[in-house]
């Protein structure tokens, strides 16, 4: 006989039936996965990034496989916030899971406009701000690398969408992600999600040209897991906000490691491509593990990472 395990987790104002959420840009608008799994088995799902107007994205090639990872430069193609509300959200609402809208803009005003439009939309559980996009007003430098810019855009969105839990998604392309995390907190974030993709490049040697039409792209998948895990642990130590960790999570063991490192919930991205039913398998795997380890409530393992065995631990490797 199976003992019941409490898989529910709470991240500030956001309550999830379990800690497994599918990541933005890797799960479409949700409906695409209905043939393969019950959306209601997921803790939640994050939509493809939404902008004010529809975006067609970058020309192909948009993706490239790398060692245990992949590069993408989709260019944030999406149907736009209006079409999302009119055509996607109504069908999603039917499924008993947390629907999280991922939001981005090229300017702070666009972030604000999209967030305002989403505020109060029936069936929306939260919005997630993608700060990895280039700020066209600041010479194309990503919003997410400048603490004052982070604090300002987060604050503005906070005011524009007062009714929705606000998740701020951090870019890992920064010297110390804890600094960005603090700025997001000071701007009014309820939850932090990390990490987005790492800037990377693949070259077609025969053509002496970048493989991706866009040139650079974002690296995701198992290859980045150790980097993401480090950042999650660091932010958990330095900043007092609940975390949704992600980066290469491909099975229940990976997900549990992120939780031990300080993630209250996890997001699954690239794994949805090479294993479309992974998300529900991870939910079950977490439950089985809790049962085996006699953990009554999975939330109890969040941030339980012990100190390293070594005498005087420091970042010094080599």
């Amino acid at each position: 006989m199976k003992r019941a395990v409490d898989l529910s987790v709470t991240l500030g104002p956001l309550r999830l039936k379990n800690p497994v959420v599918t990541a933005s840009g890797t799960f479409g608008y949700g409906g695409e996965f209905v043939p393969y799994l019950k959306l209601s088995e997921l803790g939640g799902l994050v939509t493809k990034g939404l902008s004010l107007k529809p975006r067609r994205g970058n020309p192909p090639p948009r993706t490239c496989e790398t060692a245990a990872g992949m590069l993408n430069a989709i260019g944030l193609a999406n149907v736009g916030v209006e079409a999302f509300l009119a055509e996607k959200l109504p069908a999603l609402r039917a499924h008993d899971t947390a629907i999280i809208a991922n939001v981005f803009g090229e300017t702070q005003d666009e972030y604000v406009a999209v967030a305002r439009r989403l505020n109060g939309a029936a069936g929306l559980a939260a919005i997630e701000l993608n700060l990895s996009c280039p700020n066209t007003e600041k010479g194309g430098i990503a919003f997410g690398v400048s603490p004052p810019v982070i604090q300002e855009v987060v604050g503005a969105v906070r005011r524009a969408a007062p009714d929705l839990p606000l998740i701020v998604k951090l870019t890992p392309n920064i010297t110390d992600i804890a600094v960005a995390a603090r700025a997001a907190r000071d701007g009014g974030a309820d939850v932090l999600s990390l990490v987005n993709t790492f800037l990377g490049l693949a070259i077609d040697l025969a053509a002496r040209r970048p493989v991706l039409a866009n040139g650079a792209g974002g690296l995701s998948g198992p290859a980045i897991k150790p980097l993401a895990l480090y950042m999650v642990q660091r932010v958990h130590r330095e900043v007092d906000l609940p975390i949704m960790g992600m980066g290469g999570i491909s099975d229940a063991g990976d997900a549990l490691e992120f939780m031990v490192a300080g993630s209250s919930a996890v997001q699954l991205g690239t794994v949805n491509f090479f294993d479309p039913t992974a998300s529900v398998r991870v939910v079950r795997g977490i439950e089985d593990w809790c049962r085996r380890e006699k953990v009554g409530a999975v939330r109890d393992i969040v941030g339980t990472l012990k100190a390293p065995q070594g005498a005087a631990p420091g970042p010094c490797s080599g």
């Binding site: 890797t26 493809k48 020309p59 192909p60 948009r62 993706t63 496989e65 193609a77 198992p222 491509f273």
Partner: protein, 282 residues
């Protein structure tokens, strides 16, 4: 409805050093499949390679055991690993995916060529041949008599000919090195068949002619031009890098003509892999 299942290898045959015919036990996929669709196939366990590989359905074998076949060429690491998988191994297989061929000429031209008896021309370049056996069976089930034009680099690459010959499908061959059929590209074989009746004494003209094309992009680009010039309906089976195969990563897109209800980029895995030559821009 597509499914993601673990399917056992029941046969794995080398047709030549780099072409292989794989037979998998995959009943739910076999039941649902249509000609021109594909599967996302795991080539081996683990993270190297990370992504599955898209592979057309070569055939669904008759009978109740639900066996599907894939004909593939080794072009890189993934297909090389696949070629080493022994019989008995199970591989994750997601499918059937994609739109498949439209078996009547695309609506856009039905008016024009609707009445004439259909003359399906299958145009294959290299391993593009892999998509056609399934189509031949579908066409024959509709009492259509397809003709195959098959071009490849050299004689050795002209695989799967037995399938077509056994079914009395007229086959015209071309090789770049002239080692079999006429020397040159498959487009050379196509040219005379697209001449209008009046101009081409002794040819039936293009009435009812419809093209089904699969091969390397340069070849498809050329055939597309010929088809548009001759005004015959033409379906192209496109390839692209496909991380997911199910329409969520938006990685596999191809440029298409703009019109109200279709964005300029369409997903090869979902809106395709079969595109009307009129719509796609290569």
């Amino acid at each position: 409805m597509p499914v993601d299942i673990s399917s056992r290898i029941v046969r794995h045959e080398a047709l030549n050093p780099d072409h292989f015919l794989l037979t998998l036990e995959a009943p739910p996929i076999a039941r649902a499949a249509r000609a021109g669709q594909f599967v996302m196939l795991q080539v081996r366990e683990g993270y190297d390679p990370l992504l599955r590989r898209p592979m057309s359905l070569y055939r669904v074998l008759p009978g109740r055991r639900g066996r599907i076949q894939i004909l593939y060429k080794v072009v890189g690491e993934g297909t090389r690993h696949l070629s080493r998988q022994p019989v008995g191994t199970s591989l994750k297989t997601l499918g059937p995916l994609g739109n498949g061929f439209a078996l009547s000429a695309p609506a856009s031209r039905a008016g024009g060529a609707g009445r004439a008896p259909a003359r399906p021309l299958l145009v294959a370049g290299g391993v593009g041949i892999a998509i056609f056996p399934f189509l031949v069976e579908a066409l024959r089930a509709r009492r259509r008599r397809p003709t195959l034009l098959f071009g490849a680099r050299t004689r050795r690459d002209l695989v799967a000919l037995d399938f077509f010959r056994r079914r009395r499908v007229p086959v015209h061959l071309a090789t770049e090195d002239g080692s079999a059929g006429s020397r040159g590209f498959v487009t050379r074989l196509l040219e005379p068949l697209l001449r209008p009746a009046e101009a081409a004494a002794g040819t039936a003209g293009t009435a009812g002619t419809e093209l089904y094309v699969c091969g390397p992009t340069p070849m498809m680009r050329a055939v597309r031009e010929q088809a548009l010039a001759a005004g015959v309906p033409c379906q192209l089976a496109l390839e692209s890098q496909m991380p997911c195969g199910i329409g969520v990563c938006l990685g596999c897109v191809v440029r298409c003509r703009e019109d109200e209800d279709s964005p300029v980029f369409q997903r090869v895995c979902t809106e395709g892999p079969i595109f009307d030559a009129l719509r796609v821009i290569l």
